[in-house]
Symmetry: C2
Subunit: 113 residues, 2 copies
DNA sequence: CGACAATATCGACATCTGTCAATATATCCA
DNA sequence: TGGATATATTGACAGATGTCGATATTGTCG
């Protein structure tokens, strides 16, 4: 479901790349989706909560409490993060536990240089 | 005019930071603005064109030709990139020349880890 | 000055996005 | 089985965003 998880396009030129061309439409659209997932304060705080958690995972219920948003809104944002491949979810009982995907974060970071 | 150019907030925990807390609302909003500037395919292609150019700068007229968008649209996107601090512009005669701001790109990249 | 060229701004419009209340779905427990 | 809890989905709506045509602004050159 996570789209663009295998993209390696870069905004700035890489270490003497052969072609050394700028992004084409497909690459740009793919990358734009990733950045769009990061372009909301609520989502950034969610991702931050998850990525900096002690045991590496956070229950959705915790996040609804932490952020000043309704439960449906938080659920929506978590879905966006998941579809962008930035987090994964694991349902255990009634609770939904979220984990960050460091490789995906690294991939997006790499696209910036 | 460029907002948030001095932010050093990170989504994931930094090298044993003292507080080790997640983003607050202010930091998250600031970062979100930066990512929002990167969340459009046209803007990514513009930034890519600029950042990978031979002499480090690109004339606006070149970009209007390169992308399949109207002149007002390209002008709008360049303005967004400029206000995000990702590029700078320099008017020489009738032409407007754009340059990337590597430090700003690095700062955004650093926020991802 | 006046014609031309490059860029920016304005106004309008369709689409996308964030938000919440209401509701549905899934799971646990008594 | 039935009630309670956690999460997801739906529907609606306001506000933001990308786009273009028309126009304004700025600078060059005869």
């Amino acid at each position: 479901m996570a789209r663009g998880a295998n993209a390696s396009a870069r905004v700035i030129a890489c270490c003497g790349a052969p072609g050394d061309r700028s992004l084409d439409i497909t690459q740009a659209t793919e990358l734009a989706h990733a950045f769009a997932a990061l372009s909301d304060p609520v989502r950034l705080r969610l991702l931050s909560l998850i990525a900096t958690s002690r045991n590496g995972e956070v229950c959705a219920c915790t996040m609804v409490e932490a952020l000043d948003r309704s439960q449906p809104t938080v659920s929506h944002h978590l879905k966006v993060l998941r579809e962008a491949g930035l987090v994964t979810s694991d349902k255990r009982g009634t609770w939904m536990w979220y984990r960050a995907v460091p490789e995906r974060l690294a991939a997006v970071r790499a696209a910036l240089g």
